[in-house]
Subunit: 204 residues, 2 copies
DNA sequence: GTCTATAAAGCGATAGAC
DNA sequence: GTCTATCGCTTTATAGAC
């Protein structure tokens, strides 16, 4: 049991190095523009070795997405321990998502791609994390609605999807390219904008 | 002058048929997944003929985007003639953008693609329309800020980009796929959400 | 100007030696 | 298990006949 663990650890370390590179490339170029040659060039292994560990490009993307979801779950666990109402936890996660985008750690997958969707659906690490994250956030959203911090007339799944959409909000990139305001200022505007978009109707 | 106009009209009609097909394919599959074979199959011409009229795939995408911007400009002209404050015109355009998405008339281009960006920048029909649209909407946004319908603390270009982003809001597609609510209801929630996201701070 | 046929290149995936 | 070398397919783009 302890004999093969060394080799297994080496394998796991290499696979993690691969997923690291894939995460960067997916965030930088997107799935279609990312080539397997670029992956092996960044990791420093051969293509045949890469295919020993991951049987397809889609599987690589699924592994990167699974890891991103794991990070999101870790952040929700951290936020859950903080005091304050549910809406402040949701705000914290939105802010975290924008920061991930700035740090180049947000994989960019195409919305329409059947082969990719199949690979994602078949990756239990991905689907399990997604379900768990959705469940937790759905609870936070329901709590915030009961606390009257989110419009109770909005379906909770719509609120959840708008929050997920903040993770790939193109406005951040455009504003950063313009360079007229600090990252922190732009993120603040966008996070507050999301909060207002789901806030209860003001009754003047 | 009138002699070659017949042939020119035939040419133009064919080019319009091509751009029609490209618009549908771009909205359905996106730029990367759209192949030139699919374009010629839909139009019913050969690939060589297609390349007589459009020298590259990027140029086709630019033509489709230019036409989409022309439609947006036509809608702004229609909205400009309506009575009411500037914010109601902005709301109307946001609603129109979502409807375009539903109708499959919103080209989906990748955010990161150097060759595509160059082709777009070199297409005057595209850039001119984009500048004109941005100028008009920038004025509307400034008006709405003066009317205290949009938060005056927000930079007008940020507001403009968030409005553009509504044209490719992924939440609409996800909600439509869920099928639990009518298109009109979902669009209404999303449009009102955008309005609230840029509304002035409520001062309770 | 439009067609058929094909070139040219990029990329995902694999064979076989070591 | 990793490498080099290559296959096989897709796709963009073009040559040359009509």
């Amino acid at each position: 049991m302890s004999r093969p663990s060394f080799r297994e650890k080496v394998q796991q370390a290499r696979e993690e190095a691969v997923v690291d590179a894939v995460e960067r490339l997916l965030a930088d170029k997107g799935f279609d523009a990312m080539t397997m040659d670029a992956v092996v060039a960044e990791v420093g292994i051969s293509k045949a070795s890469l295919y020993r560990h991951f049987t397809s490009k889609e599987e690589l993307a699924a592994a990167a997405m699974a890891r991103a979801l794991e990070r999101a779950l870790a952040e929700t666990a951290r936020l859950a321990a903080l005091p304050g109402p549910a809406i402040s936890r949701l705000e914290g996660l939105a802010r975290w998502a924008y920061q991930q985008q700035i740090d180049g750690r947000m994989p960019a997958l195409p919305a329409q791609s059947s082969s990719l969707r199949d690979a994602l659906a078949g990756d239990t690490a991905y689907t399990d994390s997604l379900v768990q994250l959705s469940t937790t956030l759905g609870q936070w959203i329901a709590d915030a609605q009961h606390e009257d911090a989110i419009d109770a007339a909005l379906p909770s799944d719509l609120v959840l999807y708008t929050l997920f959409a903040r993770a790939c909000d193109p406005v951040l990139g455009v504003m950063r390219a313009a360079g007229t305001h600090s990252d922190a200022q732009v993120v603040d505007w966008l996070v507050r904008g999301w909060l207002r978009s789901v806030a209860p109707q003001s009754t003047p």
